[in-house]
Amino acid sequence: MRGIALALAAALATAVAVAVVVRGSSPGTANASSHREAPLISQDPSADNTDLYAFRSPDKPDTVTIVSNWIPGEDPGAGPNWYTFSPSARYDLYVDRNGDGKPDVTWQFRFKAGTPTAFLGGTQQEYTVTKVAGGKTTVVGRGLATPPDNIGPRSTPNYHDLAVKGVHSLTDGTTVFAGQRDDAFFGDIGAAFDLVAIRHGTGATGGGKDFFAGYAVHAIALQVPVAMLDNSSHVIGIWAATDRPSAQVAKGKPGLVQVSRLGNPLVNELLIPTELKDKWNATTPDKDKQFEQYYSTPILAALLNKLYPQFGPFQEKDRADIVSVLGTGLKSPNLNYTGPTFADELRLNLSIAPTAAVGKGNRLGVLGGDLAGYPNGRRLEDDVIDISERAVGGALIGHSLPLGDGVDANDVPLQSSFPYEPDPFSGFDNTKGQLQPANG
């Protein structure tokens, strides 16, 4: 879930506090709510899945890397309220190996509250990883530690070294990292979601503004041997989710309820109507058939018709191409088809080897002729806004247009080794919302 959501939630959630800090508590400043009103409560950022990536690791091609991000728009300078995983939530990574929309391998992450220390803001968290596979539940990592958030050179000197210490081996042969990272997502959200108001031409010429530059997220990254997940079709489906304990007025044992999930990017923002967002987020992929109609009539297509009649018509209905890319995998040409069950999963064909070093793949992925990129899994460098705009524009049905948002890459380079997402900016020297130079 991200998009406008991210930008405005972050902005508003800090607005009040910023006003006070900057201007003091003089009358009339926006420093609190009116009588009886609760404060800005944004929409549960610590449970909010922002992005999911899955790719064969370029530096270790016999492994698959899954990176899942939470907590949109972390402002590195937000102290003293630093960000952490929520101790009462459960964070889940799911892998479907047989195309039925149900998990066959699950890793569950539970974090303890950070230990408050004066310098680290209580952001270093201990966590446990539990694996569910083949009907067995096993703890595969206990007492693991996240690095602290990147607070600044005095509190967290040599941050990169601290972060490297956050990489751990689990007893099932996987490698894990959990903690703060630079948000590798990039995009001109303002333009992309303002009726696709592309700033320059059709957007393929740069000049967009990366709304995510300088912001951080909390990431869980897992590096898994391909052999652990592979199957005869070589295609697996992946999604991430967050659960929170339910509660009732009467005493009772609270169960967990899924409050957020993410498979393919931008689905929650671009396809699911407001009325159904809570339901979609609570649903597991095996029950996604009920939402198929929203995938087959992407409203973005109607917008493109209004905005770019000269390039149209864009097909608004019966978009079997979109349904198959997001719901079953591409069958013809066979890229990552998992069978007829419609399920929103990120599908990765494990038989397609990495085509480039980390960050060097074609940003347009499959549309750019690079089969190792989105929608075959998703790499950190894949430009999913441009890909989505072009796909809805009809790229897969013979209607290719160079649509895009003019932001083509993350503001900082990716790391060449696991967990690949860059170190976050520190609270000390953060800069946000940088303009990307036009690249002609």
Binding site: L12, T29, N81, K209, V249, A282
Partner: protein
């Protein structure tokens, strides 16, 4: 009681806030044409303030005045301004644009639930319930609709239905907004430990969000203070101010802790800071009481006069304040039975019953007061002020031994539960 009314209101406020953000942030940007330009949003992101957002939305709407989504967002942004400034004039503006949105699109979810949250803010609970139900019909799977409905039902005294709505909300989407409501419901039922437990979940869910975190600490501070745990309350109030320095609700909570410690002048200093920042009636009235209790009668009178002005301002902007006014009047020697009856009819909750009971007792109508006090205590709520009121009613009925039991129960919850009345309770409990 003061706290009770406040808390009740905050539960409604959560609905409003969640709704606001829900509307702004969950709305599928592509599901309806967005009015704001990318540049405008970019500016918002940087400037990070609601006033800026209002301006951008207004500008965009001048270009596209029939944009339903834009109207809905502006209506919600106006409500947010009301929350931030304490100026109820924003409510009327909000109503105007939300109604226009509904005229253009009668089934718009954001505008419908926006009007529901507006009605809650204005204490028009019957209207809020009807609108909340309409929103639920538009989207039965959206959790926040059940929050609005439950908040309205609580204020209408329909607790069984209210708690069922909160349960549904927490089943659909557990999170801070649902936890806070479940906690409040448990507190109403006298389950203080349970209320505390679920508020801890709320703290977990508020991690990293400055104001949400501060607000949650404030709620915990008041819960602890109201149930005999003054030092825990102090810790929570300080945690709120640490998370959000200068937070008015944090100042108010700490003022209440100081008052409970008998440090009335320190309390007055804190409460004055809160009231000067945003002159909410409950801040101003508490400050007046603190001045009165420390012998500064002229200052107290000024605050009490200010209350009248604030309530007139609220009323002029469609906010019903009868119950708050009736309680203030009963506490300050001008109890009006007619007003209390009217307030109870509009808000037949345990608070409505308590204020009417107290008002009747002040007029020595003891038997009728007892009937209403029983209604006020029917959920088993552990609220010192309501217990104290019952004690006064028992005395009024010449049942002094009974009365002493009620006074002692009130004092056991908080030996200084009220600047105005705890001294009386202590004297009469002997």
């Amino acid at each position: 009681m003061r706290r009770r009314l406040f808390i009740a209101g905050t539960a409604a406020g959560i609905a409003a806030a969640v709704l606001l953000l829900g509307g702004l942030f969950r709305g599928s940007p592509a599901a309806a044409p967005r009015p704001t330009s990318g540049e405008a949003l970019a500016a918002d992101f940087a400037a990070a303030d609601t006033a800026g957002l209002v301006l951008q939305l207004q500008t965009a709407l001048r270009a596209a005045p029939r944009d339903v989504h834009g109207l809905g967002l502006l209506g919600l942004a106006y409500q947010q301004r009301a929350r931030e400034t304490g100026d109820p004039a924003w409510y009327g503006k909000s109503e105007g644009v939300l109604r226009r949105a509904l005229r253009l699109a009668p089934h718009d979810l954001i505008a419908t639930s926006g009007l529901a949250s507006l009605a809650l803010s204005r204490h028009r609970f019957g209207e809020a319930l009807a609108l909340g139900r309409r929103a639920r019909a538009l989207s039965p799977s959206t959790a926040r609709n059940y929050g609005v409905i439950g908040d309205a039902l609580v204020e209408l005294g329909r607790y069984r239905e209210a708690f069922a709505a909160f349960d549904t909300m927490a089943r659909l989407k557990p999170g801070l907004a649902a936890y806070a409501r479940i906690s409040y419901a448990r507190e109403l039922r006298g389950d203080v430990a349970g209320a505390r437990d679920v508020m801890r979940l709320a703290l977990d869910a508020a991690v990293g969000q400055r104001e949400a975190l501060a607000w949650t600490h404030v709620q915990l501070a008041k819960l602890e203070l109201g149930h005999g745990r003054r030092e825990a309350a102090a810790r929570e109030a300080r945690a709120a101010l640490r998370a959000f320095p200068g937070y008015v609700y944090g100042l108010d909570a700490l003022a209440q802790v100081e008052a409970a410690r008998g440090r009335l002048r320190a309390a007055a200093r804190l409460e004055r800071a809160a009231a000067q920042t945003i002159p909410l009636p409950q801040f101003v009235s508490f400050l007046g009481d603190l001045y009165a209790a420390t012998g500064r009668l002229r200052l107290a009178r000024d605050q009490y006069r200010l209350i009248g002005a604030i309530e007139r301002l609220l009323a002029a902007n469609g906010v019903r304040t009868d119950l708050e006014t009736a309680l203030f009047d009963a506490d300050h020697g001008r109890a009006s039975i007619a007003l209390a009856r009217r307030a109870e009819r509009m808000r037949p909750s345990i608070d409505g019953a308590d204020v009417l009971a107290w008002t009747l007792a002040r007029h020595d109508r003891c038997a009728e007061a007892l009937t209403w006090s029983r209604r006020a205590l029917r959920l088993g709520t552990q609220d010192a002020l309501k217990l104290f009121h019952r004690g006064m009613i028992e005395r009024c009925l010449a049942r002094d031994a009974e009365a002493r039991i009620w006074f002692r129960r009130a004092l056991a919850l908080n030996p200084r539960f009220s600047v105005l009345w705890a001294p009386t309770a202590r004297r009469l409990a002997r």
